[in-house]
Symmetry: C2
Subunit: 407 residues, 2 copies
């Protein structure tokens, strides 16, 4: 295995088959499914150093390192996870998993429906953040991880981390939620719905069963991605990167690409439509829309978070207008009301929502410092290895009362 | 004529035919064209009380009042223009004109190309804000208006008002530019390009010649409008109006309309796709992209605005994230650098970009106060009626040095 400096090197995705049906929030079940995942680093003897990384809309289990067959395709959070990196794989056993319904190897709309032998397509059930967390808990069981040192994610990944603290309060010691929100705003839902409308109104969508027609709703997917992409960048960052720069000599008085920003967006849209499954786009944006842990508590987030036992690192970015700092602060305030340990940082970064994926030394130092504390605490408390028990939701070791803090 | 209280009542659009070719910024010409317009109030003997109202993307010449055949379709700025309203038609002669390339009666892509007898479609030339202003100047000539008391508009309409001060500096005394910008940002262009991509990639678009196929790219137009609509509203306003309200009893675990905001947006998109021409959408968004008076001055707006002679009322709205206050302030600062008379107000309104169209007592009082001053000044200076001279760009009466101010 090639060990690149600071990289986990060449990694190989693994799959696990789950034969026990998974009951979903919607009431439907998935009878039988596969999850694709990757691991980096070594699980310690106490099984106390495992970190779960949850992905957002278009990412996957491939968090860090390279695949042998694609020497350029580094994992989506390769700057965050690796030897000597903020989530240090010399210390932590890191797990990345492709969520149910995604299109990178785990069972999803493209997979054959056992009932018919044909791709699920439109018949793949709508899944929720909570369903993903349940499936991740089963993966944890299978890997012998009763309690995560941390569950971590950005954006939609942060929602999964938050959901873990509510669904399996004793199965994680730390929740790291970056550039996230306790629920989508009307504007967030609106952008999702426009993207879905673009996909569903593409004649090549065929009601979700385009696989049978040998086509893909590329036009709709491309428009969906363009819309999404605008919301991932800050206006300031777009102004800085592209401004009003032209690719043409001067105005061409037509509708083809003239401005750099058009070229960039169309390229992003076209590239995305080559590899991403349209049904997965619908499914994941709907999971985003539905996430709202306060819903069963009359909209009271503080009441909803009473169950949480983890300690928290919450990070937001000043120019993120998709999930702006005020949304992270809602989580922080609800946790503080319960006197929970929360470290909160608002990073003054120019890159909008995408900042959570980018190199920023203050951000990375903060996460590194937080994981240093998790590591130190682990060595101090000598967490015992609990027996591997599938679906365990109770009986986690007592938590250290020490407050985790980072600059 | 029915005179409703505070309304100009039932109005009748008029058309004017222009046989002299109009040379466009692109270098192309339109050989022969019609403009549709409406007027309200009476032109005084001195011809000094005329106000031109310029429309934005989806509006028209129908600024105020009602059409006999549609008793519900009040003009798009009916709350602003009428007897006793901020732009008081008891004092001012107000002109609304549908711009060239639009789809409400003036010559545009749907009109027959005299060369072929078939609709122009994709062959209709790209027009610019400057071209519209030139066409409006010819309309002014035809109406005997050598100098406007004011040229006024919101958003793209404000760009036209600003362009008037540069293209025909002596043909207007006041420029009223509301919720506008001296040029689009990269993000603004990006949203336009996604909207255009949605339209152009609709199979019913047929390269712009859908008229011949008896279809309309409704899916693309609807998506374009949904995107646009999100940018017209503030996130706060959307949260207030829709929040996460459901139209369904509870989550339905599907992709049809569930959230109120989805219902609203889809309705807006569908309605728009019933009446708006797709080629016009492309054309007007491109005119928005291209507007940049500083372009010929190396990006120096101050240098670009040196030509302006008018006095200005500039208004922005705090929650407008499409053309936020900082964009209006760029205009103000460039004018102040030339010691021009500028009244600037930033209105703390919750409604985002759309605020310029909505009732807001502070906003309307401000505009009313400004027009009171225009009216008073007019009576004081006894503006002489200059001879009607087509294409006159010089020779306007000396302007009063009195500074126009409003709360």
């Amino acid at each position: 295995m090639v060990q690149l400096p600071g990289s986990v090197g060449v990694v190989k995705p693994q799959t696990l088959h789950f034969a026990q049906p998974l009951r979903l929030t919607s009431g439907a079940s998935i009878a039988d499914y596969m999850l694709m995942y990757e691991t980096y680093g070594e699980l310690n003897a106490a099984r106390s150093n495992a970190v779960l990384i949850c992905h957002a809309l278009n990412a996957s289990h491939h968090v860090a390192g390279l695949h042998a067959e694609d020497a350029t395709g580094a994992g989506w959070w390769d700057n965050m996870v690796g030897p000597g990196k903020p989530v240090d794989t010399n210390r932590f056993f890191v797990v990345g998993v492709n969520n149910l319904g995604s299109c990178f190897g785990s069972t999803g709309p493209m997979s054959p429906d056992p009932a018919t032998g044909k791709p699920y397509g439109a018949r793949f059930p709508v899944v929720t953040v909570e369903d993903w967390v349940d499936a991740q808990a089963r993966l944890a069981d299978a890997l012998g991880i009763v309690q995560w040192a941390a569950v971590m994610g950005g954006s939609l990944g942060g929602m999964q981390a938050l959901s873990w603290t509510l669904r399996y309060p004793h199965r994680l010691r730390h929740c790291v939620a970056i550039a996230s929100t306790p629920k989508l705003s009307a504007q967030n839902i609106a952008f999702n719905d426009v993207a879905r409308t673009a996909i569903r109104s593409d004649p090549d969508f065929h009601g979700g069963d385009y696989y049978a027609h040998g086509v893909v709703p590329k036009r709709g997917l491309s428009v969906a991605r363009m819309i999404g992409h605008i919301t991932y960048l800050s206006s300031e960052d777009m102004a800085e990167k592209f401004g009003r720069l032209l690719r043409t000599q001067d105005y061409a008085f037509g509708y083809d690409v003239e401005f750099e920003v058009e070229s960039y967006l169309r390229y992003q849209g076209d590239k995305f439509s080559e590899y991403f499954d349209a049904n997965t786009y619908l499914l994941i944006t709907r999971a985003l829309d539905y996430f709202d842990p306060a819903k069963d508590f009359g909209g009271d987030l503080t009441a909803a978070l009473a169950r949480a036992r983890a300690r928290f690192l919450i990070v937001s970015f000043t120019t993120d207008w998709r999930f702006p700092p005020v949304r992270s602060r809602e989580i922080v305030e609800a946790l503080v009301a319960h006197d929970r340990d929360v470290t909160y940082a608002e990073i003054d970064a120019p890159h909008g929502h995408d900042a959570f994926l980018l190199d920023d030394v203050r951000y990375h130092h903060l996460v590194a410092a937080y994981f240093d504390l998790i590591h130190a605490e682990q060595n101090q408390t000598q967490v015992a290895a609990p027996p591997v028990a599938p679906q365990v939701q109770q009986g986690a070791p007592a938590e250290s009362p020490r407050r985790a803090e980072a600059a």
